[in-house]
Amino acid sequence: MSTVIVNDVRRGFYLDSVALMRFSRTISGLDGVEEAALMMGTPANREIMSDAGLLDDAGRAAEGGDLIIGIRAENKSSAERALAESKALLDQPTARDAEGVAWHPRTLRAALKQEPDASLALISVPGDFAIAEARKAIRRGLHAMIFSDNVDVQEEASLKQEARDLGLLVMGPDCGTAIVNGTPLAFANRVSRGGVGIVGASGTGTQEVSCLISQYGGGISHAIGVGGRDLAPEVGAISTLMAIDALDDDPATEHIVLVSKPPESDVAMSVLSRIGKSTKPVTICFIGAGEMQMPANAAQVFTLKDAARSALALGTDAVENAGAATIEVPKGRGRVSGLFSGGTLCAEAQVIFAAAGEDVTSNAPVPGVPKTDKGSEGHILLDLGADEYTRGKPHPMIDPSVRDEAMIEALKEKSVGVILADIVIGFGAHDDPAGHFAKLLQENATDICPAIVASVTGTEEDPQVRSSQIAKLEAVGVHVAPTNADAARWALSTMRARG
């Protein structure tokens, strides 16, 4: 039996990536279909489809403005049926058509005629086009938040330099989270207002810190995202330095928190030197970094939880360990399998495991932690939002089923004693990630299963409501820790207690 690949190319037909991923999933699930994707024909997408064995000559010849349907099926009739179904999905009226929603401008220029006072462009187009759209925005006087990723770092640097010369802030690319003057943008939570200003080069890091500050009774003035590579040497922390200037000057901000991966030393020097000139206290969490020399007004912390506590002068972490006493682990199982949707939550767990002297690896390792390979025998903490899991697929925070396969595997794996997971809620995220997680556990539970330890990043005011998400997890036996850091510690102490 030989597989059949069919492509159909629609010239000049655009749908956004979320809609297309939903369609791709539907078609992939049809009988006889091995793999399917509906994608815009940008060079990056064509490469993904080619690697997945989904392109024929028609697809390969498509251009960025064309939509490609790519199907690989067990036989010709399955392929043809899937193709017909794909075309039907594309031809169905959109929700907007059905609602008769008003006309939308087709360009940024036209949008500004409609809303001349707009202050910010939120850009989430395919990465190949994101810089061009951001450039149009800054040249029309708008600040830009670029959610898109897969953007060249040199282009990022050049855009940020131009924006800085214009006095405008560029948040991103790959900026998932910001809260500007109380407004959560993209993946953010409804947190209390208050005196802590966050500068975040990490989306989930900013979410966890802002939610914990809110949970501890404090509040956020602004959370300015800068994008994961702003502190890379090529970019030189342009947006981070502008954000620190802005928060330093902002009367509503009393304390500044900086969350980022560890920068290289030249960039770290310039950021720390700028922080030293601030009149405000600053908390710095370079997640995974060793101890560094700090300016007099700055405190270095090593976990997101401590960043939140330090910002509110609550002192260093008191381990909330009570829950761990009740966790039972099947005999003879010594490994923790961490399955994270948030990259920085995975990094924080690694920091805690490494500090405890545990044998831990990760696909997205922090400094000092080895990269997971086939021979890795210790604890494995996976960032399921990393490129290798999300290439051409939605992020697990949007579509929690991205974690399903790894969960099912970990549930069956006889060496795994504890599965450690994060549930991230808020705007932009899936509407019921805990419900999905709980259902998966129920469907795949066996008599002897690993213990499940998790935390929920979010607030009571978020659309999903944190306590309701926690209740759904606890109802199926998940041990829910108050923070991601505590979840990591619960997992560790459970393994140690039994060992």
């Binding site: 000049g12 655009y14 956004d16 979320v18 815009m40 024909g41 940008t42 251009e63 960025g64 403005g65 064309d66 907007r96 939308h104 401008p105 087709r106 360009t107 940024l108 036209a110 949008a111 500004l112 409609q114 809303e115 006072d117 707009a118 202050s119 910010l120 462009a121 939120l122 850009i123 187009v125 395919p126 190949d128 086009f129 061009a132 759209e133 450039r135 925005a137 040249r139 708008l142 600040h143 959610f147 898109s148 214009l166 006095g167 405008l168 802030l169 500007v180 003057n181 407004t183 959560p184 943008l185 993209a186 502008m242 200037d245 802005a246 000057d249 902002d250 509503a252 705007f427 932009g428």
Partner: protein
């Protein structure tokens, strides 16, 4: 100048032009934020290099 523009971003109600995922517009609207959704299609016939060039020329 730069301080004034960023200060203004932080101090006034944010008004957004959303270029891309419509879900972001819907969530902002639900929060009462002024937002204009751009019905975006890839510019320059979907050629990223040409689109980049056009953005530099101010079109």
């Amino acid at each position: 100048m730069s301080e004034t523009k960023i200060k203004s971003l932080l101090e006034k109600p944010v008004k957004v032009v959303n270029v891309g995922l419509e879900g972001f517009s819907r969530e902002l609207e639900q929060q009462g934020v002024r937002v204009v959704q751009v019905d975006w299609v890839p510019p320059a016939g979907g050629d990223p290099k040409l689109a980049d060039l056009l953005s530099k020329l101010g079109t």
